[in-house]
């Protein structure tokens, strides 16, 4: 077999269903070989979007997403998607074509040092120099991407290696890496310490992050909280760990979160952070957090612990394994009283979102839409005001909430929704996106339409780059600049051009009827929702 065939065999061995990508000469041997496989190639309209589609696929399927692109500009276009996956610890396998080994370093046509360019935001990268190494490298790449703290792995594949003879494909069962042994089980002594601290606590709180979802520990974490009536808050990436309506769930923390959720976290005496970075968007002054409380930090990445805040009790390990262990203990504590106080805060001090009579109130609309969704719906929010409206009002049931939390990459939602819809055919997929971001990814409407995805695209149309306009409102005395999207297209004609049904929602009294209409339809739909440019997220 040649190298290209070995890559495809290795992908088949990993049960890969789809390869998202964009071809170019240097990756042609691979795509040629892929055409003789059961694995489907999905031709996206831009390499970055192919990376996001692999990201959305990974987050919904729980398996690494695979993206393959060409060398040079194909590879550099992929960089933003790699950085986006890295920031949110999403497992994707990125295969880039490369000029022949002999020519590397000669500045040949379409040569770029993609390994060097991506070094600081890949979990690991390989530059393949012998076809016979491909089965081992592919096996290692999937293992590295999907274990420990997950993340993107880049494999740079020179074209001559893809064409070179590499022997027969032999399935590799075990990965042997002397430098990589992620910790799974939490240290028994540390787990005992947590239980002791909890048994002495008055106002403990659990803050869950994306790591809980990544580890698949939602049930274990929820069971632990339920056992002791332990209140739960989440970061943006932790939305979906628990249903929003769960009696223990208080809300999202952070500078875009609920004030009462932040207050709950601030007033706690024991804060148990799980799979969260204690980063700037979630905690305003991470370094001061241990001043008046005990911080228990549970994370699979030892380097995250103590990076932003010094923990009182660090536990390194997989959230699922650690909470299974924690659930074995029987403590006689109950925090019902403290929980009731927090629930009272959230009921009485819910921020009054300024409901605007002009156009459609985005908060009310998202709440009503999400309440009407199926239990297992997938909700993908883009970046900007639509993301903040979504985080604040989306009522999670048992489905997925996807967004670019760490990198905040505009244009993430539509390609990620395409990936998600392939991972979950038949499930409702909602994609909320601003009128700025949708124009970065219009070409992908073609792919979504072609695949007849079940995606409802909600374009939040306020005719400007709302989040930055809001920032200029609060920080630059309303000196609005570079935020007006003048000469916007007619979205009904855009929808028509791509063969996608279209509807428009212009006023609050249309919300209920529109939600029914949106959800009764199978397949693609674009719903343009008129939003007041002055409907700010902060109040």
């Amino acid at each position: 077999m040649n190298g290209a065939e070995l890559i495809v065999k290795a992908l088949e061995a990993e049960n890969t269903e789809y390869v998202f990508g964009y071809p170019g000469v240097s990756i042609c041997p691979f795509f040629d070989s892929l055409s003789r496989s059961k694995i489907k190639g999905i031709l996206m309209r831009n390499e970055q979007n192919a990376g996001h589609a692999a990201n959305g696929y990974a987050r919904v399927s729980g398996k690494p997403g695979v993206v393959a692109v060409s060398s040079g500009p194909g590879a550099t276009n992929l960089i933003t998607a790699i950085a986006t996956a890295f920031a949110d610890s999403i497992p994707i396998i990125c295969i880039t074509g490369q000029v022949p080994c002999e020519q590397i370093g000669s500045d040949m046509f379409q040569e770029a040092d993609i390994i060097g360019a991506c070094e600081s935001f890949v979990k690991y990268s390989y530059s393949v120099r012998a076809a016979k190494d491909i089965p081992r490298i592919m096996k290692e790449a999937f293992y590295i991407a999907s274990t420990g703290r997950k993340g993107p792995v880049l494999i740079d594949m020179p074209i001559d290696i893809q064409n070179a003879f590499g022997g027969d494909f032999t399935k590799i069962d075990k990965v042997m890496l002397r430098t990589y042994k992620p910790t799974v089980k939490g240290h028994a002594v540390q787990i005992k310490k947590v239980l002791k601290v909890l048994s002495e606590a008055k106002r403990p709180i659990l803050c869950v992050g994306g790591g809980v979802i990544s580890s698949g520990a939602q049930n274990e974490v929820t069971a632990f909280a339920e056992k002791y009536n332990l209140p739960v808050v989440s970061t943006m990436m932790g939305i979906g760990v628990m249903p929003s309506e769960h009696p223990l769930y208080i809300g999202m923390v952070g500078n875009n979160g609920k004030k009462y959720a932040n207050r709950a976290m601030n007033e706690s005496d024991v804060l148990i952070m799980v799979g969260a970075r204690v980063a700037d968007r979630a905690v305003s002054q991470p370094d001061l957090i241990t001043k008046d409380k005990i911080l228990v930090h549970i994370d699979v990445d030892p380097a995250e612990i103590g990076k932003n805040a010094g923990p009182s009790i660090p536990i390194v390990g997989d959230a699922k394994a650690i909470f299974e262990e924690l659930n074995r203990a029987e403590l006689s504590c109950d925090f019902k009283e403290w929980l009731d106080r927090l629930v009272y805060y959230s009921k009485t001090r819910d921020e009054k979102t300024e409901s605007t009579a002009k156009y459609v109130d985005p908060n009310a609309f998202i709440k009503e839409l999400s309440l009407a969704l199926d239990e297992d719906a997938v909700y993908v929010a883009d970046v900007g005001q639509n993301q903040i409206y979504s985080c604040g009002n989306y009522v999670v049931k048992s489905g997925h909430f996807l967004t670019s939390g760490g990198m905040g990459t505009m244009g993430y939602s539509l390609p990620a929704a395409i990936g998600a819809s392939l991972a979950a055919p038949g499930r409702q997929i909602i994609c909320t996106v601003g009128d700025g971001a949708i124009q970065m990814v219009l070409g992908e409407l073609s792919v979504a339409s072609l695949l007849n995805c079940n995606i409802k695209i909600i374009i939040m149309d306020n005719r400007c780059l709302g989040m930055i306009r809001e920032y200029q409102h609060t920080h630059y005395e309303n000196r609005y600049n570079m935020v007006d999207l003048m000469n916007l297209p007619d979205y009904s004609l855009i929808a028509k051009a791509y063969g996608i049904p279209f509807m428009r929602i212009s006023a609050n009294n249309e919300i209920t009827e529109s939600v029914k209409k949106i959800l009764s339809r199978k397949g693609m739909l674009i719903a343009q929702t008129d939003i007041d440019a002055d409907a700010f997220t902060a109040n």
């Binding site: 979990k123 430098t179 030892p302 380097a303 990076k307 010094g310």
Partner: protein, 161 residues
């Protein structure tokens, strides 16, 4: 604070740039860095000397451990290790300076390894502070060129090792 990291890494191309890149990306200082093979041909040893706050120095160790090409990180302070550095100095001298230069070399056990009527090369392999000492004593002369290796370090032998 000063800290020495002895890092065993996979002896592969690109690993040096990955480790050096980690320091630049996260704004960690590198005071010196030396690389060489070990007794195992597949393993290279990097000795990195860095200064920073306690928090930064801890983070460096964690981030180094996180790199997939890093096999093992050992960290120690200068007093717990045997440290050596090599320096080469080329000095342009006048004949009346020669005696003093030779006295300094004798005093610090440095060698004059090459010389002409106008230039000499002095070398010393010693602890970093004695290298500094030599340098400070030679500053008043006309130093034409300096080349130094950076610190090599190994933890001291311990009982029951």
């Amino acid at each position: 604070m000063k800290r020495i990291y002895s890092v065993w890494v996979e002896n592969r191309s690109g690993v040096l740039s990955k480790v050096a890149g980690l320091f630049s990306r996260r704004s960690y200082n590198i005071d010196s860095l030396t690389v060489g093979e070990t007794q195992d041909k597949t393993v290279s040893n990097m000795t990195i000397v860095s200064t920073g706050t306690k928090h930064t120095l801890e983070q460096i160790e964690k981030q180094l451990n996180k790199k997939l090409d890093v096999i093992k990180v050992r960290t120690f302070s200068e007093e717990n290790a045997i440290c050596r550095e090599v320096i080469l100095l080329k000095i342009k001298y006048a004949s009346q300076e020669r005696r003093e230069l030779m006295e300094i070399c004798e005093f610090l056990k440095a060698d004059i390894v090459d010389a002409t009527a106008t230039h000499m090369i002095i070398t010393l392999c010693d602890t970093p502070d004695r290298i500094e000492k030599l340098l400070s004593m030679l500053r008043k002369f006309n130093i034409a060129e300096i080349s130094r290796t950076g610190t090599l370090a190994m933890p001291k032998c311990s009982e029951g090792e």
